[in-house]
């Protein structure tokens, strides 16, 4: 396990992604709401570059009393990583697929120290 330098803090713009090559492995480092997340840039579906798409909040159906559909809404507390190949979605927080908990992205620990961002590979 080694800490690999990703960038100086602030080099990745808010909402941006940096894809780094750590040996054989491509890792996407995502900055969202000031926090960093690192996942292997490999989608468990068909192998797409999962970190290179967009991030989007999850969608909710809002159901009122008696089962009445009211509207849809975005769940701003649950941001999804959307794979650009077929739109499989994964929770940004833990990389778990939103449809099937057994499917998950490989997550790497992010360490922020001395004004720089590292990932533990």
């Amino acid at each position: 396990m080694a800490d690999v330098l990703v960038c100086k803090d602030g080099e990745i713009a808010e909402g941006g992604v940096r894809v780094i090559q750590a040996g054989e492995v491509e890792i996407g480092v995502i900055r969202h709401d000031g926090k960093y997340y690192a996942y292997r840039n490999h989608c468990p579906h068909q192998g797409g570059p999962v970190c290179e798409g967009i991030r989007m909040p999850g969608v909710l159906d809002i159901i009122g009393e008696g089962g009445i559909f009211l509207q849809q809404d975005f769940d701003q507390k649950d941001i999804h990583i959307v794979c650009p190949w077929h739109s499989y979605e994964f929770h940004l927080e833990d990389g778990v697929n939103v449809c099937d908990k057994r499917i998950r992205l490989q997550k790497f620990k992010v360490v922020e120290k001395d004004g720089a961002v590292y990932i533990n590979v």
Binding site: Q46, E52, M56, Q71, Q72, D73, F74, V82, H86, S87
Partner: protein, 411 residues
């Protein structure tokens, strides 16, 4: 000589008051100022303010969809809408527009070869995208004219120049005579390997008016392809769906189920025994369903289908199918059984559907644990070669790779 007062219309900017100057004169002459005039029906083009209006949509998810799809044309309020790229979740659709290509060959050739090379594909059968919906245009003559224009353009600008790209040309299905003419006019063009019925057409494949078209395709030893598609607006059943997933999941299979059923119940495989058909982009799960359903009914009602000499499923096992979008979620056993039921080893042809949202890579076939290496290769290429009578062309990228591999091999 005095110059007359003039207005040069080539430089004058449009102004409503100028356009209506004569109306203003009339108003003045008639002294409209003497009484009240009320107009109870007048309009504005609110679509010009659509960007402002969408901000007032209360449902935030729908607001985002409306912003993304826009209004008019294929916007959110149109029949089909623009849901294919999942409201911006798939980035390749808008981004590819900015992708740089050299001036020659045609941009379509360059872009197609780029993704084909990346996926490892040697020969690809090219279909249009929005024009697959031509059958929903209310003016049949527009469908015919655009279909002919597209086919001619494709033959001259793409197929004539790139042997790795072939096509089964679009038939304007609502005009049987125009379909026949299409086969006559384009059936012998370079790169044409068959003809396509886009399945939501509003005619039966068994209509007598089509018989000479099927015969002409058979005579030329070309393939007849039924390409699944959806239609939303204008289709009584689809209009009962409120989400695109429902329209798409049902539409792409339903219309091929419909045509296949009519094809069999009218004994078409017996009437055109040498005509090879391929059923495209409906996935695979529908085939076992329909085989079982039709066989069961046929055993009791064969009197209605006297042309069929064998069970409907026997004929279906001799037809060809494309793989995508292959149902692959937690269904390994069902998939294996499906492959067995449809004689996949000899009848199934790999398809990517790239760049669409539900595209499949060759690895979806190559990585299947229950297939032999020979079966994989058949499905990935050999079966299509037989179906389309293809002269195979190997991609330049693969030729180079093979040469490098051979050079690296110890002598």
């Amino acid at each position: 000589m005095d110059t007359l007062n003039y207005r040069d219309l080539s430089v004058e900017e449009f102004d409503t008051k100028t356009l209506l100057a004569h109306a203003a004169q009339q108003a003045k002459q008639r002294r409209y100022e003497d009484f009240l005039i009320v107009d109870v029906d007048a309009h504005h083009y609110e679509s010009d303010s659509f960007a402002e209006i969408v901000e007032y949509i209360e449902d935030p998810v729908m607001r985002q969809q409306a912003k993304y799809q826009g209004f008019g044309g294929t916007g959110i309020a149109s029949g089909p809408g623009s849901y294919q790229n999942l409201n911006g979740r798939l980035t390749r659709y808008p981004k590819v527009r900015g992708e740089k290509t050299p001036p020659t060959p045609h941009r379509d050739i360059t872009l197609t070869k780029r993704w084909m090379d990346s996926l490892g594909i040697d020969v690809g059968c090219m279909f249009p995208t929005p024009m697959l919906q031509l059958g929903t245009c209310p003016r049949i003559e527009v469908e015919v004219a655009l279909a002919r224009a597209y086919n001619r353009w494709l033959c001259e600008n793409v197929l004539a120049h790139e042997p790795r790209i072939r096509s089964t040309l679009y038939l304007p299905f609502r005009d049987p005579e125009a379909c026949y003419q299409m086969v006559q006019d384009f059936g012998d063009r370079k790169g044409v390997i068959g003809f396509t019925v886009v399945s939501p057409g509003k005619k039966g494949v068994h209509d007598n008016a089509f018989m000479k078209t099927w015969a002409a395709i058979e005579e030329r030893n070309l393939a007849l392809v039924f390409h699944g598609a959806y239609t939303w607006g204008g289709d009584q059943h689809a209009e009962l769906c409120n989400r695109f997933i429902a329209v798409h999941a049902l539409g792409f299979t339903w219309f091929n189920i419909l045509h296949m059923t009519n094809w069999l119940c009218n004994g078409m495989p017996e009437r055109f025994p040498k005509l090879r058909t391929c059923w495209i982009e409906s996935g695979l799960a529908w085939i076992p369903f329909l085989m079982q359903r039709l066989d069961n009914e046929w055993m009791m009602r064969s009197s209605e289908v006297p042309l069929l000499k064998r069970k409907p499923s026997d004929y279906m096992r001799e037809m060809y199918y494309s793989t995508q979008p292959m149902e692959m979620v937690d269904n390994k056993e069902a998939l294996e059984l499906t492959f067995k039921m449809i004689n996949a080893e000899t009848q199934l042809c790999y398809s990517s559907d790239y760049p669409h949202w539900d595209m499949d890579l060759p690895s979806t076939i190559y990585d299947l644990p229950f297939l032999t290496e020979a079966a994989k290769r058949n499905i990935l290429g050999g079966n299509a070669k037989r179906l389309f009578n293809l002269e195979p062309v190997v991609s330049e990228a693969k030729v180079k790779q093979l040469a490098e591999r051979n050079a690296a091999r110890p002598a």
